[in-house]
Amino acid sequence: MVVDDSQTVRNIMALIVHRLGHRVIRASSAMEGLALLTESVPDLIFLDITLPGMDGLDVCKVIKNTRHTKHVPVIMLSGNDQVFDKVMGRLAGASDYITKPFEPETIRKCLETYCGQSNSVREGLWQKSR
């Protein structure tokens, strides 16, 4: 699942995740993300820290305090590379932290770490093209 208020980030993330052989659920706000989580539980959540209304850290806390979603790894996305934000993310229960702008390779590594081997044939090509 990708929760980000930026349509461009959602589109890019969806393309990357899809290319790596996974299905993607997209949400543009905290409320939409939490609503979608009541319908299906993803293997991994990419969650933007800066969301309108309820911020990503609070959403992460809700996810981690909900019985059917607390096991799902949450990766915080942020344009800020401050240690403070990373610590806050950890305290909220996030498993990892990605700074924007990001490279597809960073997302691939996350998926590999938290969802197992990616099954896309394009993965090799991506690596070759770097």
Partner: protein
């Protein structure tokens, strides 16, 4: 004030190249996926990776443009937009298709002179838009000399960005890749255009 001046011969050469570029661009037909060679598929994959990196960077610049401090300053907003346009031009210039057709900002500005009413060679230095040139020409005190000029210049910068993004779409061989990236790029451009309208130019 340093200004780029072009001789009439230079202009004729540029216009000729621009016409050739326009003609070639219009004659480009998208291939079908079935006819793609393994090299073309590999090129598409590499371009897609680079496009993802580019858009991730551009989105961060767009986020900065959305910042309240930046929105309150025409100068900071203009700098952001110039930066975005220059990133796009740099990326587009490196596309094999663009290289083959002699794409450059100079050619683009000359070709579409009728569409870029307010932008001209005077805004270009060393093949990129120069924020210093914008400052010298339109906001010597850090404030726009004429509030309307900001919207006019930014519309032109958005047009240039749009042309670059269209070329980037055509850089893909596979039709479905073109379609996917057209969606990504147009979403970005619409968001950028909306952000620009809320900049305070006074």
């Amino acid at each position: 004030m340093a200004e780029i001046t072009m001789s009439s011969m230079d202009q004729k050469v540029l216009i000729k190249r621009a016409d050739a570029f326009l003609h070639n661009e219009q004659s480009t037909q998208p291939p079908t996926t079935a006819t793609l060679s393994s090299l073309e598929i590999q090129q598409d994959t590499a371009l897609e990776y680079d496009s993802m990196v580019l858009m991730s960077k551009l989105e961060q610049l767009a986020v900065r443009l959305n910042d309240m401090t930046v929105q309150a300053s025409a100068s900071l907003s203009m700098e952001c937009l110039v930066n975005i346009a220059n990133h796009l031009i740099e990326f587009t210039e490196k596309l094999p298709m663009a290289v083959a057709k002699g794409f450059s900002l100079d050619v683009l500005i000359t070709r579409a002179r009728a569409h870029h009413i307010h932008l001209g060679p005077q805004h270009v230095r060393n093949r990129r838009f120069s924020f210093e040139a914008f400052t010298e020409l339109h906001m010597p005190q850090g404030v726009m000399r004429h509030p309307n000029t900001f919207q006019q210049l930014t519309q032109d910068l958005l047009r240039v960005s749009n042309v670059c993004l269209n070329i980037c779409v055509k850089g893909f061989h596979a039709p479905e890749m073109r379609q996917q990236w057209r969606t990504v790029y147009s979403g970005f451009l619409v968001h950028l255009a909306k952000t620009v309208t809320s900049v305070q130019t006074n």
